[in-house]
Amino acid sequence: MIEIKNVTKKYGDKVAVDNVSFTVEDGEIFAFIGHNGAGKTTLIKAIVGIHDFDEGEILINGKSIKDDPIACKMDMAFVPDNPELYENMKAIDFINFICDMYDVDQKTREDNIHKYAELFEVENVLNDQILSFSHGMKQKIALIAALAHDPKILIMDEPFVGLDPKAIFDFKKVMNEMVKEGKIVFYSTHILDVAEKLCSKVAIIKKGKLVKTGSMKEVKGDKSLEKVFLELEG
């Protein structure tokens, strides 16, 4: 479970995230939406322990990201919006490196790397340098590295950007499989129709403040998510 309690993050005088609270339960796909600069990435970086925050508390499966970041991070995997991977490394070396950091045993990593490399059709390029990859290919490698250690919580910042339609389709299936196993998928997105179909819960953030959150049904009612979002943003 992810518990965000009254989190505030400031950059100097500018409040990027303002007293935000919500909870993501196990087995949920949670969409986090908002316009550019609304504070999505800032909050995501605070959840995964990349950025500190000024006030509030973030609990990952009951543990505080501030007090016990290592234990929290062991449960999570993070896929950033722009996959800045180690370009001088081979793709397989990068994935192995991430697995080593998460102490993934040989069998689990073999099973997962084979499974996801096959799914994303990148098996034949895993021995190539990341430098030669397109944005989409890098995104696929980032996803494989994130999934290879079997995270309980998958957190992503606009994960579909750069992926080809087949990869998006396959990845949506992976997300659904994960939540069936009781895991959490939390991601930010601008593709509202996908979020509407895929996610069980949603939060809308505007200028750092949470303006609406709840189950998809509660938030959108009889309207489309796009319409609700545009009304709230208007």
């Binding site: 040989q106 034949n124 021995n127």
Partner: protein, 537 residues
């Protein structure tokens, strides 16, 4: 023209943040304090050096030689520095996609990059040459005209060294673009040029010694063969507006012509450097688990070997150490007899007695002047978020980086040690002390480097050279290393003069540096988590 200036302004404000210290109000003063103190020490050192030279030339009434020597030597330093930097500052930068997509001439982009290169060298030239010029002016009671000419000279003198370095960078890039392993070829070629320049300088040493005996001839040599300095000295001695205009014009024209020449193939060459030969390996990929330490060191090492300026910068000192050990071991008689002949009452045997201390001093100099960790955090760039999201303590990440640097340094230093141990029959105390120092001294250098980088991270560089050669952390590490190297030699010489035996001198030496290492380690463990977590991209 307006477009060029706007582009220049944007690029300079983006990249020339060398002295822009990112900090909050609380620690701003401490962050700014260290670079300012180091700059002042450097200025004092340069001024003092100029004063010493002036005193030496005073009896011959040839003080202007000191000024021409200074101006000439710093032109050489700029060329030497430029050889490291040119190809990576001009080619294959991170902002290539943005700049080349703009509706501006490709030569304009080259101009902007060469100007950035020039601007950095101007700053360093100013830091080194400026104080020396002031001391000269005060000492010689020069008029305002001298100061005006010297300010102009600070702008003008780096131009031709920049052009020379850029041509070398162009040639290096051109040759390496022909090969599949571009980075490797670029590293080897740059290193070869540096060693060649050093070899020529070494052999020219005797020529310079002869010339020093006749001060006027040095000045003649410099002013005749190196026009930019020659014209400056001539203007200082006898101002002439025509000479001034010609001096300005020639330098600017050379700069423009070099842009036109390199600009002809700049885009093509840059694109070639960017192209990656995609070779699909037919071998099956290997899924292998390793310990965190081994995996991390492997990752850091692959970053090191894929960055030519990083290898050249770190490798040069290490290669020089091994070369010095080989030279001392196999040309001992020639070197020592030469030195002994210049020192009255000193027999070659005395040098032999002090060989272990000489090796210790050389080791200290090489270790302290090689800082790999000073750019290791900055080189992460935006990918530092990968590290920050991993379930691993920040202090361990920092430690792994220090270990990687030591893994790179120690084998080279050990190779030099072993060569000397084999040729010279050192006693067991010396061997143990030197082997211990071979681990201890790089450890200190790398602790200083990583602490400097944690304090002054530069995460938004457009190329690796800005981080490795032109960042505040690399400057702090270099000057800190110079300071420690000087202190080390001072300690060794001071202890020898007390009449203690070699063994005792070495033991005291390593005890002092063990204490220093301990203090630095305590400090690092205290600050590393906080400082690393504070870095935001």
């Amino acid at each position: 023209m307006n477009k060029t200036l706007r582009l220049l302004k944007v690029c300079l404000s983006q990249d020339m943040s060398l002295f822009k210290i990112q900090s909050n109000k609380v620690n701003h003063k401490t962050k700014v304090f260290v670079p300012i103190i180091l700059a002042l020490v450097l200025a004092g050192y340069m001024g003092g050096y100029m004063y010493t030279l002036l005193e030496q030339f005073k009896p011959m009434n040839q003080q202007s030689v000191a000024l021409s020597l200074f101006a000439f030597m710093f032109s050489i330093v700029v060329i030497f520095e430029g050889l490291y930097k040119a190809s990576s500052l001009l080619f294959n930068c991170k902002d290539d996609q943005l700049l080349f997509s703009l509706p501006v001439d490709k030569k304009t982009i080259l101009f902007v990059r060469m100007f950035k290169f020039y601007a950095f060298e101007f700053l360093f030239n100013g830091m080194f040459l400026g104080p020396a010029m002031i001391v000269y002016g005060i000492n010689m009671n020069m008029t305002w005209l001298f100061y005006l000419l010297s300010i102009i000279a600070l702008f003008i003198l780096p131009i031709i060294p920049i052009v020379i370095s850029s041509f070398f960078g162009f040639i290096t890039t051109y040759i390496s673009s022909k090969f599949k392993g571009k980075n490797l070829v670029q590293t080897i070629f740059t290193m070869s040029i540096l060693l060649l320049v050093l070899y020529i300088s070494y052999n020219a040493g005797s020529l310079m010694t002869v010339m020093t005996n006749n001060a006027q001839r040095i000045e003649d040599f410099i002013t005749k063969w190196y026009y930019p300095v020659g014209a400056y000295i001539s203007l200082v001695k006898d101002f002439n507006i025509i000479t001034l205009l010609i001096w300005l014009l020639i330098n600017i024209v050379i700069f423009v012509i070099s842009i036109l020449i390199i600009g002809k193939v700049y885009f093509k060459l840059n694109s070639k450097m960017k192209s990656v030969s995609v070779v699909h390996s037919k071998k099956p990929y290997i899924i292998k688990s390793r310990s965190r330490l081994v995996s991390f060191v492997k990752k850091e090492f692959s970053r090191f070997v894929s960055t030519p300026v990083f290898i050249t910068n770190a490798g040069f000192g290490l290669v020089m150490f091994v070369a010095a050990c080989v030279a001392v071991s196999f040309k001992y008689d020639a070197i020592i007899n030469g030195l002994a002949s210049k020192m009255e009452g000193v027999s070659p045997d005395i040098f032999m007695n002090y060989m272990p201390l000489a090796l210790m001093g050389l080791l200290a100099f090489s270790a302290f002047m090689t800082s790999i960790t000073s750019s290791m955090i900055s080189l992460e760039g935006k990918s530092i978020n990968i590290l920050k999201s991993l379930p691993i303590k920040s202090s361990m990440i920092v430690l792994y980086k220090v270990i990687t640097a030591m893994v790179i340094m120690i084998p080279c230093l050990l190779l030099g040690d072993i060569i000397v141990f084999i040729v010279f029959n050192f006693d067991i105390v010396s061997i143990i002390c030197i082997l211990y120092a071979t681990i201890l001294l790089p450890f200190i250098a790398e602790l200083i480097g990583i602490m400097a980088n944690l304090k002054y991270p530069k995460m938004d560089a457009t190329n690796d050279t800005e981080v490795v050669k032109q960042s505040t952390s690399s400057m702090v590490s270099v000057f800190g290393g110079m300071f420690l190297a000087t202190i080390s030699i001072g300690i060794l010489v001071g202890l020898v003069q007390t009449g203690l035996s070699n063994g005792v001198v070495q033991i005291i030496f390593i005890i002092i540096f063990t204490i220093l290492a301990g203090l630095l380690w305590l400090r690092l463990t205290k600050i590393s988590d906080k400082r690393f977590d504070e870095i935001q991209v």
